[in-house]
């Protein structure tokens, strides 16, 4: 009931015309899948991701002035989404736990018992060569998506939400050591995924 009253009150002083509303609805519809994709990448739970996106759209609609002034609507919405994702992480932190896959230590396979590499890492060549390619960004995104649940969440919190390690530990009530172990594994998996799906098939330094 509360909610309905509030919706009515808001709509009575709406600054939008019917045409504006149509236009806004079209734009939001178009961006919703993108927002949902990154919400899911961060939270690894479709119900929480849906909520974060709905909260984002509501927050956006409550600020008509800022809404109208946005030339970069997506950038603005992603900015709001990041705050809503942190809210969701706080709300659901106790249910964000490690899976069996998170527990696998792939570093063990990389080294001989004496601590030397089994297989020396490949030269990935000039970073600019891959960094400017959209396809590389897509492969990277797919690799992040393939990280085990908790590793994926923590990696996203660190690299995409840009939280520092103390904040992450506080939000999820985990120890720094635990966080480092998980990030460490995430980065090794990411490296392996990029090696397999990009660098192994690309002649490094060769023509593009």
């Amino acid at each position: 009931m509360m909610q309905r009253t509030e919706l009515c009150r808001k709509s009575r002083r709406s600054p939008y015309t019917a045409t504006d509303m149509n236009d806004i609805a079209t734009q939001l519809d178009k961006l919703r899948p993108v927002l949902l994709k990154y919400a899911q990448l961060q939270l690894r739970n479709s119900a929480w991701a849906e909520d974060a996106v709905s909260e984002t759209l509501l927050a956006a609609l409550e600020k008509p002035q800022s809404f109208a002034g946005q030339s970069q609507l997506k950038t603005w919405l992603i900015g709001i989404l990041k705050h809503k994702l942190i809210d969701q992480i706080r709300r659901n932190s106790r249910e964000m736990s490690t899976s069996a896959e998170d527990g696998e230590d792939i570093a063990e396979d990389l080294f001989k018992p004496d601590g030397h590499w089994r297989e020396a890492p490949q030269d990935w060549g000039d970073p600019e060569h891959c960094l400017r390619q959209l396809d590389f960004m897509r492969v990277l995104e797919a690799c992040v998506e393939h990280l085990p649940g908790q590793q994926g969440r923590l990696f996203m919190m660190r690299e995409w939400l840009e939280l520092d390690t103390e904040e992450i530990c506080k939000e999820l009530a985990i120890s720094p050591t635990n966080l480092w172990v998980m990030l460490h594994r995430a980065r090794l998996r990411l490296r392996e995924c990029l090696q397999l799906n990009w660098f192994a098939g690309v002649a490094v330094g060769g023509s593009s």
Binding site: D123, M137, W180, H184, R187, R191
Partner: protein, 63 residues
């Protein structure tokens, strides 16, 4: 030797440095190891590339 580290240990430190500042002694040990080892310098370059790639990807998601 206190400064002597295996490739596995150096790999660990290189990854650790992505999320926290390493103690000075560890930084010296990593630097020394990089001069003597053929396999670890490419690994360090891979990690630096991944750091820049994550940053670039973040911007790509926002545009």
């Amino acid at each position: 030797m206190i400064l002597r580290r295996t490739c596995k240990e150096v790999t660990h430190l290189v990854l650790q440095a992505e999320d926290t500042a390493l103690p000075l002694a560890d930084r010296v040990a990593v630097r020394l190891h990089m001069y003597a080892c053929h396999a670890c310098p490419p690994f360090l370059k891979q990690v630096l590339l991944m750091r820049r790639a994550s940053e670039r990807w973040r911007r790509y998601t926002e545009e």
